[in-house]
């Protein structure tokens, strides 16, 4: 009896195992992929750090590999897309410009960010220029730091120009402008996400340094750029400029600093100091403004934004300190720090023996505060730039990724694949450790939005990518 059972059982199992191998579940419809009206054989990406894959305050090999143009090119390959050449760092120089990594958290839960300084591609820790040039073909022209106002600057690719553009510019062509370079790339499809730095530099400096490109200049240059890119009939996608006030660089510190400053101001008032708030510099002037703690933006209201860079200095509020000015002088003028420091203190009328932030004679530096006036300038410019961008898209029949609308729409957070996303620093999964640039996951989500915009505009069905395959911030 037992033998019979075994034989029959074994036969049944063997025959079933044979059956299974050919019997996978199958979907009724095959996958649909189509390029629609597009010719994706040569894709060229025009842009700044976002386009390069910059994140964690640096450009490094992993970020380049997961740049949104490379993700787009990967997805284009399903729909007739050609190869896509990026100026990748070598493995040996894989940490590129260097970047920040999250080493841990302080006892109070603040992130400890430390610079990565090995396997760099730069000439030295202090020189931002690169050891090796990348002179073979490039289709990703993402240049960290480039403003639209730089695209016609001769020498921008020289040793006195932008290190990233210098890296991909052959020495013989060092006076070729960015516009001339990308115009010569002859794409069949292009993306353009330029213009962020025309407000961002001013914003992240808290209005202390940098300038806002005049709208007329922006509009003229943008028209020239898009005209050049579409000269040979290329189709493409343009992206608008996000409201920089919505990134963690500006939204992280305020909510934690607000109670701290409220207490500090109250304590000073209790000692008889006639103040209503914290004293701060504005723009690049010695003018003081008063910031009441209630006016600092957090969930309950307020509008004043504090930069991520301020978090190390705000605990010094109330102390007699000149640390910020000392460090600024050392970084700006390593060889002549003492004289530079004296210059700052004179220009901005600083008395470092006074209570930092509480006494108007030792105000909070302008670089830490984006006040209402500065924000209004930024917002006005951003909206005008975006109108210029969208006008060009309409004129040349291009797809638009409205980054301004997208980043505003996610302020409340969203769920995707069981993962919570928000603009929160580190925990929000979208923004990298510099608080301005997305994580790889964030770039992948943006790439999918761009694909959806391209599909809608050109009647294509280019597949989106599984964003869970990209990492967010690495947690120690």
């Amino acid at each position: 009896m037992k033998n019979v059972f075994y034989r029959w059982g074994a036969t049944a199992l063997l025959s079933s195992a044979f059956l299974f191998t050919g019997c996978e579940p199958e979907f009724e419809d095959d996958i649909t992929v189509s390029r629609g009206d597009l010719d994706l054989s040569k894709y060229v990406a025009v842009g700044n750090s976002l386009t390069a894959g910059y994140q964690d305050n640096g450009l490094y090999l992993e970020g380049q590999a997961y740049s949104y143009p490379n993700i787009l090119a990967n997805q284009f390959s399903y729909a007739g897309g050609g190869p896509f050449a990026q100026p990748l760092f070598s493995q040996a120089q894989g940490n590129g410009s260097g970047y920040l990594r999250l080493a841990g958290f302080t006892a109070t839960g603040s992130p400890l960010l430390v610079p990565v300084t090995d396997f760099l591609a730069t000439e030295s820790a202090t020189s931002p220029f690169f050891k090796d040039e990348f002179t073979t073909e490039v289709q990703n022209f993402g240049i960290p730091g480039i403003r639209l106002s730089d695209i016609k600057t001769p020498g921008y690719g020289s040793a006195q120009g932008n290190p990233y553009f210098e890296r991909i510019t052959p020495d013989a062509n060092q006076f070729q402008t960015y516009l001339a370079r990308v115009s010569a790339s002859n794409p069949t499809f292009f993306s353009s996400w330029l213009g962020n730095n025309d407000v961002l530099g001013y914003a992240t400096a808290g209005g202390f340094s940098g300038t806002i490109t005049p709208v007329a200049t922006f509009t003229s240059l943008y028209t020239e750029l898009i005209t050049a890119m579409t000269a040979n009939g290329a189709e493409g996608i343009v992206a608008t400029i996000p409201d920089v006030r919505s990134v963690p660089f500006f939204t992280t510190v305020g909510p934690t600093a607000k109670p701290l400053l409220t207490a500090a101001v109250a304590a000073a008032q209790a000692q008889g100091l006639p103040i209503t708030g914290v004293s701060a510099l504005t723009k690049n002037t010695p003018a003081r403004i008063t910031i009441t703690p209630a006016s600092i933006k957090d969930a309950s209201g307020g509008s004043i934004l504090l930069t991520l860079t301020s978090s190390a200095y705000l605990p010094l509020i109330g102390q007699p300190t000149g640390r910020y000015w000392r460090e600024l002088a050392a970084s700006q003028s390593p060889t002549n720090a003492a004289a530079t420091l004296r210059g700052y203190l004179t220009t901005f009328q600083i008395d470092t023996t006074r209570a930092f932030g509480l006494d108007p004679r030792n105000p909070v530096p302008s670089a830490f505060v984006l006040d209402d006036t500065e924000q209004a300038e930024i917002n006005t410019a951003t909206i005008a730039y975006n109108n210029a961008i969208k006008a060009q898209a309409t004129a040349k029949n291009l797809a638009v990724f409205d980054a301004y609308e997208f980043f505003n729409s996610i302020q409340g957070g969203f769920m995707l694949n069981g993962v919570a996303y928000s603009p929160a620093f580190i925990t929000g999964n979208l923004f990298s450790l510099d608080g301005v640039h997305p994580t790889q996951r964030g770039y992948a989500i943006i790439a999918n939005r761009m694909i959806e915009a391209i599909n809608a505009k050109y009647g294509a069905t280019i597949p989106t990518i599984d964003v869970t395959q990209f990492r967010a911030v690495l947690i120690p």
């Binding site: 009896m1 059956l19 996978e24 579940p25 069905t461 947690i475 120690p476």
Partner: protein, 417 residues
Amino acid sequence: MKSRFLALLGSAVLSAGVANAGGFQANLQGQKQIGMGHVGTGLVLDQSSIFFNPGALAHLRQNGIQLGVSALNAKIAYRAPAPAINESYTDNPLSTPFQAYASFGKEDSPLRFGIGVYTPYGSSVNWGKSWQGRFGLNELTLQAIFIQPTISYRVSDKLGIGAGFVYSTGSVNLQRSIPLTTQLPSGYYAEGGVELDGAASGFGFNVGVFFQPTEKLSLGLTYRSKVEMEVKEGDVTFALPSSPLVTSQFQATQFDAKLPLPANITLGIGFKPTEALTIGVDVQRVAWSAYESLRFDYNAAVRGEMFSESLRNYEDSYIYRLGAQYRVSDILTVRAGAYYDNSPVEAGYLTPETPDADSRGVSAGLTLALSEKVDLDASFLYINKKERTDDASKSGGVPGTYKSVAYIPGVGLNYKF
């Protein structure tokens, strides 16, 4: 171009199985019945009446022991919502639902005693740790073994009644990824994860009436109660980045949970147009509405919450079964059948643990009489669930399109005395 990503993404290890009926029910309780669409409530076929209809057991003329096992091989395919094209497949080692029944009673006595051990619910789904829905589920294994001592009484040649007490013992193991990535000393990235593992048990009953008004017609009605499987102090194990700021968010070490195995009411009709041919029809109502949510209560907070809960809100469903057997000779009996099973999962509630859809089953089987006392049963069941697309917006599941098929061969052995 693709390889550039794949090299960095790592390879998927996918394997899985799934219950072969709506939800996580596994209707595989007798090899003869499986061969004929799992009808049996209105029939007297063998000792498996202990499950199918305790009221019919006393109408069996002989005592006997029956052992059977099925090799459940199910595969599920997943495709992400368009325009995405990424797909994932589950693939699992065979799971083996089994059944063992024994009955005994004096030849002339109207009383029959029986005991059944069978596996009416279970699920084994393994999507792996790299698919798009891994933060919902990597792997789920549910097991429930019912042990049912039974008494059956033949009121008359036409009427029988029976009842059984059910003790269920089982286990649950659920694994999912946590979206926190850390870098290992080797340089590779590792994602966090959690595993919930616990033993479960519950109680219930099974009662039935069997009525045979004529030689050619028989009827059966059974009620199998809900069995609430309760997990107490199951283990919670986290794999997380080591930073105290993270680990302090995931403090739980134990969990409690309750999983309802729903009640069933089945009406069965048997029809014997000739001595050799038997036709059966069953209509089964499964009270899936008992499954409202999947809730885990923790002994310490997980991300500030003492429990996690996701809605299921299953609805009651019907299964319609039709089958027949034909006695070719004294040695050989052949069977065929089919069923249609309505999914209890409503739109918006699809989950990767049971990516359920209305399903069609077709089956065939045979019995070989090896001797006076020994019969061998064989069955084969093919299940094809309809392709289903869901946004999973209400269950916290994984949106996309799912398609399941299952191949289930089985064998059984009967020894009569």
